[in-house]
Amino acid sequence: MTVMNMIQALNSAHDVMMERDKRVVALGEDVGYFGGVFRVTEGLQRKYGASRAFDTPISENGIVAAAIGMAAYGLRPVAEIQFADYIYPAFDQLVSEAARVRYRTASEWSLPLTIRSPYGGGIFGGQTHSQSPEALFAHVAGLKTVIPSNPYDAKGLLIAAIEDDDPVLFFEPKRIYNGPFDGFFDRPVTPWAKHPQAEVPDGHYTVPIGKAAVVREGGDLTILAYGTMVHVVLATVAAEGVDAEVIDLRTILPVDIETIEASVRKTGRCVVVHEATRTGGFGAELSALVQERCFYHLEAPVQRATGFDTPYPHSLEWAYFPGPVRIGTAIRKALED
């Protein structure tokens, strides 16, 4: 066990897997000699050589396509897209190819491929360093989407993703790389060291894909969140003094419907939280699922607390970001009647 922040935990996942399995290679813009702009791949080129951890041309499309080819060969590439906002040039290769090759070949080929990408706001990154595109991938049959919220899960889920025989999109909440930001942007951020989930085993372990975590048990209502928002929700719940059950989805697709259903059946109320723009966000799917499956248990409409339907604004970041006020309002609405 070592206390790690999220970057260190992700780095350790790479290290463990590259050590164990020669088929694992890391690639991406600035991933090689430099070790990644967020330093997630730091040291890997030194340790495993340039042909297993290397820089790529600035072509997200090429990165994903090359990774698909490598996976088709039999390697297990872990490709970094420097910011999730830059994943769109690779959209066709992800949607039309990565997601389809198994189906197209009746499983003769599979693509054990992991695409990592820092996502989300809260760092004053403006329009192109802040987006949360996870919903776009959840709509595409054949892709799994994973979003960790703490160092322990980050490492365990990344190892699970690398070992998964299907393509996994692995979005990393960059706002909490260094500490579990709680949404109160005027308070100092605590480092990971103080958080129990920063105790990370040094070796190999997995956190299963498709399993949510109940991070707080409660009876008043159910709150579904993932990534940075887990921490914002927990802080808001504390501030509001409500007895909420908080579920960290961890995997967006396939979503852990059992855990969700069991909780909402118990509480009868539900709030869904994400950073992404509201319309067509994954919160819409969660809201639809909950009302389809728990309708007769629901005592109030499922509420969504999300980013607004605007491009991500630079200077108004803290008005845009779904913080304690927006989430608190949604909680209170869900508790009405």
């Binding site: 290679v25 041309p57 396509a65 088709a72 060969y73 590439p77 198994r102 197209r104 009746a106």
Partner: protein
């Protein structure tokens, strides 16, 4: 200077939109083509620096002359056995294409695409590779499968989307896939396979393997960003890959000028990426073989990729959905000056004294029968009958192979669909 408010002497601009030499109603016109005589193009050492190929991107490597003689430095000097095998495979592709085209016209399936006139670019190239080298084809290289003895019946079952279809009716006809035959799954999305091939080749190099990759793309499809990604990655990492461009001069209704070939060649792209480039008579099986072998030898020596433009002509329509007579002259295919690859190789074998008209006739008969027999066998396993609920596949398979393991939502949807069908059958 910077601040003049007016625009003295600035002529009006205008948009240039490329037009082919001839349109329906015109006579086909290939007089603008500059075709060097067979044997006239120099052959650099396969280990030479890439730039020593850069004059070759503007000419045409040709081996077979007008009389069917193999001439010049690119003659691969194949044994008659191999030549006959290539001839046979090309002929088989053509018979197969004609048969399946007809099957589509008879309503037995939804779609078909022929490779008529382009048989050499797949068949001869495949014979120049090792059997376990990997190919990333487009929908017009069925010749690769045939050259690698993929069972005809299985090809047909794929075209029929029937119970014998190895990919369970999931894809449009002709979108074959076979790992055992080093044939990557064909994509309906153009160009995507090109950078994937480079990734595969990089993986082979990373693994210290000795297998190389060979990728195909059409002239029209080179405009996609994937083409650029492939060339860039291949150049940067000196990936062991052959990048073939099949320039059959047409996309669907648009000619290669719309793809950027008006003032340069596709092979010339190699110069910009600093990789080796060759431009080859794609209807000359020996030239195709020789160029492929040259590129394979080069890349096996870790000297990086070669971009090969295979200059040919799409003799038929783009697919069964297309009628070329509305956008190009009726006589275009017949006037095409580089001839027919099958006829040219046959002529060569005849000139060598290694073939005769009787054997040709016998082979034609044999291939016709082979294909007919295969078709019979394939049709026993069903055809795509599009207006009934007697599905050619077990409907439950629709939910398989989305993921290695079926997640809960697909299980639920599978159950839902089974119930739907039961309801429908009532």
């Amino acid at each position: 200077m910077n601040d003049q408010p007016e625009r003295p002497n600035r002529p009006a601009l205008s948009l240039h939109v490329p037009e082919p030499e001839a349109r329906p109603g015109d006579e086909a016109d290939f007089s603008h083509l500059d075709i060097p005589p067979a044997g006239s193009v120099r052959r650099p050492d396969p280990h030479a620096p890439a730039r020593e190929t850069h004059d070759l991107v503007f000419t045409l490597v040709r081996v077979l002359d007008e009389e069917g003689k193999a001439v010049g430095p690119w003659d691969p000097k194949l044994d008659p056995e191999t030549l006959r095998r290539i001839l046979r495979d090309m002929m088989l592709v053509r018979v197969y294409d004609d048969r399946m085209y007809r099957a589509q016209r008879q309503g037995k399936t939804s779609f078909y695409m022929k490779s008529t006139g382009e048989e050499a670019v797949a068949v001869a190239a495949t014979h120049a590779l090792d059997r376990d080298d990997m190919t990333f084809p487009t929908y017009r290289q069925q010749g690769i499968l045939i050259a690698r003895d993929y069972p005809l019946v299985q090809m047909m079952c794929q075209v029929y989307s029937n119970r014998g279809d190895p990919i369970k009716g999931r894809q449009l006809p002709i979108m074959y896939a076979s790992k055992d035959h080093g044939f990557f799954t064909i994509s309906g999305n153009l160009a995507t396979q090109y950078p994937q091939a480079v990734g595969w080749a990089m993986a082979s190099a990373i693994s210290g393997d000795s297998r190389i990759a060979s990728a195909y793309i059409g002239d029209g499809s080179t405009a996609e960003g994937d083409f650029h990604a492939a060339c860039t990655f291949a150049a940067v990492y000196r990936a062991p890959v052959i990048l073939n461009i099949v320039n059959n001069q047409w996309a669907i209704s648009s000619f290669s000028g719309i793809a950027g070939a008006e003032l340069t060649t596709f092979a010339a792209r190699a110069v910009g990426y600093g990789i080796a480039g060759l431009r080859v008579d794609g209807n000359d099986a020996l030239a195709v073989y020789a160029a492929t072998r040259w590129a394979a030898d080069r890349t096996r020596a870790n000297l990086g990729p070669t971009l090969i433009e295979l200059f040919t002509y799409r003799v038929e329509g783009h697919s069964t959905s297309d009628d070329p007579s509305v956008y190009r002259p009726q006589d275009a295919a017949s006037k095409w000056p580089l001839g027919d690859p099958i006829r040219r190789l046959k002529q060569h074998l005849l000139a060598l004294g290694e073939w005769d008209e009787e054997r040709q006739a016998a082979l034609e008969t044999e291939l016709g029968e082979t294909v007919r027999a295969a078709q019979k066998q394939a049709e026993k396993q069903g055809t795509l009958v599009t207006s009934t609920i007697d599905f050619p596949q077990d409907v439950r398979t629709m939910f398989e192979d989305v993921f290695a393991e079926m997640p809960w939502h697909l299980k639920e949807q599978q159950a839902q669909m089974v119930a739907e069908l039961a309801a429908k059958r009532k």
